[in-house]
């Protein structure tokens, strides 16, 4: 779910304008909370984790510098998690993304370091390679009917091997500055010296205004369709919350070096993929396929084509993550991307995906990824070793999914 099209209209209590309010409103609100328990639960959990480490690390966690750091550190996992979420919603799994990250970063290194490609061309070629890899796997899964677990397990081996072949076991570096900026750069600065990053402030104000306009337009259209809307005071509260959140985030980023380039990329992906999954026919078909393949097929959903596209999308996102990773490391290395597939899968499940498919949102995957990312960063800040970090991350995954299952069973659905 993108910030532009939040789930809020769904969860809004459908208070009939004239009919019995009170009890009905409370019931609808409770129901909506229960339906979206996993997502709200994780959002609250993320808040608590942030608070915990903020106190534990004596305020280091939310220093503007560290916030930028968290964003950049986790960018590639978040990008992968968004794609993985869609794969899981469709009822599949992709184990090959880590190896594909490595392969694409290796190819980008070969193109730029060995063959002096200009970096935009290398980036474009890398994304095409990712699309081709996704199409290759999607073909076997969608059209031949080999289970995705097998196809992508094969892909995991194939792409890892290809990485070592093209790199000949060596690391390749350095990359052009422009390419490095994908992962390490910030929005350029302009205007007078204000102690804040001017363009970031402008961008923040712009985003805030846009969101408000969006909310206002949605409400007006819903009213014109005579649909139920949020009661006016609640709606005002919601708007105030949105403005507040945008302002805090803007000030935080603007007081360091501004918006990281990679954050812009991720925000763009989140908005675009969230919109596709919610509002574009193909996205809705992904949910239908994952929820009940037989019913979806009988409703005329082109299951093969949709499955194929889901894997092409995953391939392109893996390639993008590969480029970001290479840019951050400033090198193409044979061991790149190891275990990334598992981090992405974990993020998707923490963020509300269901093992059987059909459930989850792209926004949820980002929340799940951030939970893992903040845990990583926070535990490093307070000096816990990677050994303990792994144990704790594993337990968090187990707890998140366990809580969800317990909650569903209690709700009796």
């Amino acid at each position: 779910m993108s910030p532009v099209t939040t789930e809020k209209p769904d969860s809004a209590p459908a208070a009939p304008a004239g009919g019995g309010r009170g009890g009905a409103l409370a019931a609808a609100l409770l129901n909506a909370m229960r339906n979206n328990m996993r997502q709200y639960g994780m959002l609250v959990a993320l808040g608590l984790i942030v608070l915990l480490f903020q106190i534990w690390s004596d305020g280091t966690l939310l220093l503007p510098r560290n916030v930028s750091n968290i964003v950049q550190q986790n960018s590639y996992i978040l990008i992968l998690a968004m794609g993985m979420m869609i794969v899981i919603i469709a009822g599949h799994i992709d184990l090959s993304v880590g190896s594909l990250v490595a392969f694409v970063s290796a190819m980008s290194a070969v193109m730029m370091v060995n063959h002096d490609f200009p970096w935009p061309l290398a980036l474009a070629c890398s994304l095409l390679i990712g699309a081709a890899a996704g199409a290759w796997q999607g073909y076997w899964i969608a059209y031949i009917g080999i289970p995705s677990f097998i196809v992508t397990l094969a892909g995991m081996l194939v792409f890892r091997g290809l990485t070592q072949i093209v790199l000949e076991g060596q690391s390749l570096s350095p990359f052009p500055k422009g390419f490095q900026n994908i992962a390490q750069g910030f929005l350029p600065e302009a205007g007078p010296d204000t102690n804040y990053h001017n363009l970031t402030l402008l961008l923040g104000v712009g985003v805030g205004l846009f969101l408000l306009w969006q909310e206002w337009r949605d409400r007006r259209r819903q009213l014109s369709y005579e649909l139920d809307v949020l009661p006016y005071p609640l709606w005002l509260g919601k708007c105030a919350f949105i403005v507040g959140a945008v302002l805090v985030a803007t000030l935080m980023l603007a007081s360091y070096r501004g918006v990281p380039v990679v954050l812009l990329i991720m925000a763009g992906l989140l908005v675009a993929l969230g919109y596709v999954m919610r509002n574009v026919v193909v996205g809705r078909h992904v949910y239908a396929l994952g929820g009940n393949r037989a019913a979806a097929t009988l409703s005329g959903v082109k299951d093969k084509r949709v499955t194929f596209l889901v894997f092409v999308n995953m391939g392109v996102l893996s390639a993008l993550a590969g480029c970001v990773y290479a840019a951050r490391l400033n090198a193409g290395v044979p061991k790149a991307g190891e275990m990334f597939e598992l981090e992405a899968i974990a993020a998707a499940f923490i963020g509300g995906a269901s093992m059987s498919g059909g459930i989850g949102t792209v926004f949820g995957a980002v929340i799940g990824g951030l939970v893992l990312g903040v845990l990583n960063n926070g535990m490093s800040l307070v000096g816990l070793g990677t050994d303990y970090q792994q144990v704790i991350k594993g337990l968090v995954l187990l707890a998140a999914v366990g809580f969800d299952i317990w909650n569903k069973r209690r709700a009796g659905s």
Partner: protein, 533 residues
Amino acid sequence: MTAPVLEMRSITKTFPGVTALADVGLTVAPGEIHAVCGENGAGKSTLMKVLSGVHPHGSYEGEVLFEGEPCAFRDIRASEARGIVIIHQELALVPYLSIAENIFLGNERASRRLKVVSWNETLRAAAELLRRVGLGAEKPQTRIADIGVGKQQLVEIAKALSKEVKLLILDEPTAALNDEDSRKLLDLIREFRDQGIACILISHKLNEIRQVADRVTILRDGRTIETLAVRDGGGAEDGDGGGGEGGGLSEDRIIRGMVGRDLDHRFPERSHYRGADAGTVALAVEGWTVRHPIDHERKVVDDVSIEVRRGEIVGIAGLMGAGRTELAMSVFGRSYGRYEAGVVRVDGREADVHTVPDAVRHGIAYVTEDRKTYGLNLIDNVMRNITLPSLPKLRRRGAVDEHEERRVAEGYRRSMNIKTPTVFETVGRLSGGNQQKVVLGKWVHADPEVLLLDEPTRGIDVGAKYEIYTVIDQLAARGKAVVFISSELPELLGMCDRIYTMAAGRLTGEVPRAEATQEVLMRHMTTHVRNDG
């Protein structure tokens, strides 16, 4: 009569909102073949589930006495320990294990302490059991997948024998069998009777009941209607069954018991379509033949031709396994079985319906019998289920218009009276009747020209049925061609302009509304077995 081996007294079983069994009694004498018959949904399977412990003691009211002792089975194992074994219509065999392993599955011939399977003993015992069921020629090591359905059924019976069965329950044992296999099976049941094993036989095939059963109990709407002796004076001699009525119980007598309910269901007044193209044939199916998806020997739909006109509601009646669903699903984008022959014409032109999108493009919709498996995405909400097939229609500048979508869904919620707090409620939480309205709403909005409705009122209460009938009537009044498949004869009689009957994959009759009665239909629906010989 000697003391009964089984006595079920005033069994009452309710499910939320439905009374499946009300005060049902059943008494089986030792060494008797006792048939239980009734329409689909009359309560036969529920009664057997109570008997076998699938519905555990305490979840029903009434008493079960077996060999004179009261029984309180908590599960199937408990009833099997007493020698009551049920063989379900869907065989419960593991295809990639051997015959011997299947026979002793869960009951392995193994050493007492370490539970090591003794293969010699397993194979020896299996071979003996196979001989007893007339499969002496099969090796116990053969995989189940490698033998035919008829032999698989016999393996199930061998499995039952391995448990020292005293009362064998067979649920539609011959539904999937050809004539010869059926005959072998029935002979075997008769042999068991002579060995003192009592048998409850659930069957739709009335001639089989006449051939083998001693008595028949008829259930209707969850009640015991009557228990009849099949042969006068104890029936010592086994009739060959192939001949005429020859004394004893007639099939008509059984049919009367099965269908003779009060016609107190209410149907909306049928409205009429008055468009210019009224009466033109919208859907014609010609020579449609489909084979079973796995068992290619069997034709599940055999040379069926039907036509449906605009504004017409055409019923298809048939008992379980008659091929009604298979016909509808295979016409709808060949979603079932292996297509063999036949043409589909929509508005007189031959239509390519190779895939579901093809069928949808030609304006055909199929509302499925099994809404949970094929009809709904249970984990998604009401709105998204309704709009799924028609999402492209809701597009504005490439994206689904959420507001329009919500308005459409709200519209159906109101017009079809779907009882849900909001259209964002998860479909899985709705009642069966409301789920069915969602399925119908989904296809009404897709606006097809031909609707294939498969058991659209199955498992829902009377009030919701009336609302669904009203929707169907309105569809016809708008000039749609409706095919209405149902196991409930009264609703076909109440709603349809014409009724086709099917049996064993073939069309066995076409009855106009004026001539249709339950007796006439039931006769057509059960004729096939006699005509086969």
